[in-house]
């Protein structure tokens, strides 16, 4: 009797997981396997693909300094974006976490509301704000503060601005969840022992919310490093990020083998970041932000 119960208990998680596993295998693992295979094919000068095991794409991707430089600048932009999100998102999350429960729902709703609009549209909206004939320039010129409109778009800052705009909610939600999990009486205890409210924040609240900050940071970093839409819409010719190279290779040049190698390279680098993160922080906090303990 007992053994059948046990057998059922070990079987059950697999039964429950199977729809998700099937989806992951069909939609992620198998396409990924195709990409791996593709990356060893070769595109001939004539434009056809040669099936086989060639290392040419990999050699190009790994040795050409053009790719290396763009990879490094992609990581730099992702890092700056992450730091900006942390600095802007933390106070915002703190404010929401400390609001009255009625306002809290409203504020969280406002945070999630932009997700109802396409990411591309949200990104393009900056053109109406920062463009040469956009809202900001029109205002500055009409009010006489400027003689000529400023070129605010199509540079690295405008790409970072777009990324921060896109990623800030991820940071805020992660930090918010970790702040919500901190027992309020801890700060009261610190205060009663002699801390000012700022000291008790530094001693108690900040360290206990670091896992949320780290989780938000990881999400922002990985999503920023993998994006191609923001640099495409808001960046200039020199602001391409690594995913733009993949896009360029596959969509524009139709060079699937090279695009595959490049995308695997990005996947590997980001996988490394996640691994290092997991080693030092653990993935538990991210699961928490999505509602699991």
């Amino acid at each position: 009797m007992a053994s059948t119960v046990e057998a059922r208990e070990t079987r059950q998680p697999w039964i429950l997981l199977s729809p998700a596993l099937t989806a992951i295998v069909l939609l992620l693992i198998i396409p990924l396997a195709f990409i791996v295979v593709y990356s060893f094919w070769l595109r001939t000068a004539a434009g056809s693909e040669q099936v086989g095991f060639y290392l040419d794409n990999w050699k190009e991707a790994l040795t050409d300094s053009f790719y290396r430089d763009i990879l490094l600048s992609t990581l730099r932009i992702a890092l700056i974006t992450t730091i900006a999100c942390a600095l802007l998102g933390y106070p915002c999350a703190y404010f929401i976490a400390r609001s009255k429960s009625g306002n809290k729902t409203l504020l969280l709703l406002m945070l999630i509301l932009p997700f109802w609009i396409s990411y591309i549209i949200r990104t393009m909206s900056w053109i109406n704000i920062l463009g040469v004939s956009g809202a900001l320039n029109t205002l500055l010129v009409n009010s006489g503060l400027l003689a000529e409109p400023l070129q605010l778009l199509y540079n690295e800052p405008s790409v970072i601005l777009g990324l921060v705009h896109f990623l800030l909610p991820f940071m805020v939600l992660n930090v918010y969840v970790s702040l919500e999990g901190i027992d309020e009486s801890l700060e009261s205890a610190a205060r009663s022992l002699g801390c000012t409210s700022w000291q008790s924040f530094l001693e108690v609240t900040l360290p206990l919310s670091l896992p949320g900050l780290a989780a938000g940071g990881l999400l922002c970093f990985v999503l920023a490093a993998g994006t191609y839409i923001t640099p495409l819409v808001l960046g200039g010719a020199r602001d391409a990020m690594f995913a733009n190279l993949v896009y360029e290779a596959i969509i524009v040049q139709l060079n699937w083998p090279l695009g595959s190698a490049l995308s695997l390279m990005l996947l590997f680098v980001l996988g490394l970041v996640v691994t290092v993160y997991n080693r030092f922080v653990g993935m538990g906090q991210i699961a928490k932000s999505f509602g699991q303990e």
Partner: protein, 364 residues
């Protein structure tokens, strides 16, 4: 006369339209152990948090050591605070938790070490300094929380239901322990609980509260024996409250005519506001009603009434009986000697008049 450690003068707390605390005044003499006792929502925590500085009173004055502290922020009040959920810092070791308050005072490192070790000795956990709170049992966490609060030598120790998260046995041990430490340090303590036995066992003074009002302030035996209201009588232990009419009052007794029991001479020190001819309430604690076989004649002066046992509730050494007398049920808690009575049995209920107390007014 020395200045009291804490004085509350007509403090009021309103949350919007709700008044959580009606004007309340209370004095905690230096070194005393005062307990706020009352049912959930009566304003105990609110009162404690105002003393702590976590809440501002809407009106009234709070004085600590004779000085008004209404405007003093919490971190300058020098208080020890212990919470129901311990509130230990999970990211700090036991040692760092206890040392926390000392680091915010001008104390040398070596001195901090000595004080922390002394505090850990005092709570009898000298060897746990390196552990994290998560690695401790509930009882150990509670002791560390206490050590953290007392190591700073606070002017007042504030405890909000510190024992209620512990299981029953541990709770009784900690009760003794807490009282020992409090006594040893001679520290003025304001303790909050809704557990009457905790309050009776530990306090010098009990403040019984109900719905934002103070019902009675007094020593445990005073509050227990001479409740000032029906609420207090019912809240502290099981009481029977019987309608009566005051017949006469003299220097020694108030003679009342109580339903079923007849004429009862209640000793005057246990009588509140008896007015001849008016309605009153006779309070008899369940422990003072004894059940007897019907053929046993009561001793001289002892009142008796017959009843039928309806429910028998074993409680270890004692039994709680619910006995039907006329159209009402009385509670009696008796020690077990020999055979307890069975359900359905007819018994003779005895009570000595000197074990009764008298309250004014009709039963509510």
């Amino acid at each position: 006369m020395t200045t009291p450690a804490v004085e509350l003068v007509d403090i009021v707390k309103r949350f919007g339209a709700i008044t959580a605390l009606q004007p309340m005044s209370l004095t905690l003499p230096e070194g005393s152990f005062v307990t706020l006792l009352g049912p959930s929502g009566c304003g105990k925590t609110t009162t404690l948090r105002m003393v702590a500085g976590l809440l501002d009173p809407s009106a009234g004055e709070i004085r600590i050591k004779g000085k008004r502290v209404n405007e003093t922020p919490i971190h300058k009040r020098n208080l020890g605070l212990v919470f129901q959920n311990y509130a230990l810092f999970p990211h700090k070791t036991v040692y760092d938790n206890v040392a926390f308050g000392l680091r915010y005072r001008d104390i040398e490192r070596s001195q901090i070490k000595k004080l922390v070790n002394e505090a850990l000795d005092l709570v009898q956990l000298p060897s746990l300094g390196d552990r994290y709170p998560k690695q401790l049992s509930g009882g150990q966490q509670q002791r560390i929380a206490l050590a953290r609060a007392i190591v700073i030598k606070p002017d007042v120790l504030l405890l909000d239901e510190p024992l209620s998260a512990l299981d029953a046995n541990l709770r009784e041990d900690m009760r003794v322990e807490l009282k020992r430490i409090q006594h040893q340090l001679g520290i003025t303590t304001l303790f909050v609980t809704h557990d009457q036995s905790e309050a009776l066992a530990m306090s010098d003074t009990i403040v019984v509260m109900s719905a934002g009002n103070v019902e009675q302030v007094g020593a445990p035996e005073e509050v227990y024996n001479t409740p000032s209201s029906e609420f207090v009588a019912r809240f502290l232990g099981a009481s029977n409250i019987i309608e009566s009419r005051t017949l006469s009052v003299d220097g020694e007794h108030a003679m009342v005519e109580a339903r079923d029991f007849g004429n009862v001479p209640v000793p005057i020190e246990r009588v509140r506001n008896a007015i001849t001819g008016r309605e009153s309430k006779l309070v008899i604690r369940a422990e003072f009603l004894t059940l007897n076989k019907t053929d046993k004649t009561p001793a001289d002066g002892v009142l008796s009434v017959n009843g039928q046992v309806e429910t028998v509730d074993y409680q270890g050494q004692a039994v709680r009986y619910f006995v039907r007398v006329g159209d009402r049920q009385l509670q009696a808690i008796n020690m077990i000697d020999g055979h307890p009575f069975a359900e359905g049995e007819t018994v003779s209920i005895h009570v000595r008049p000197r074990d009764c107390a008298l309250l004014p007014g009709a039963i509510t």
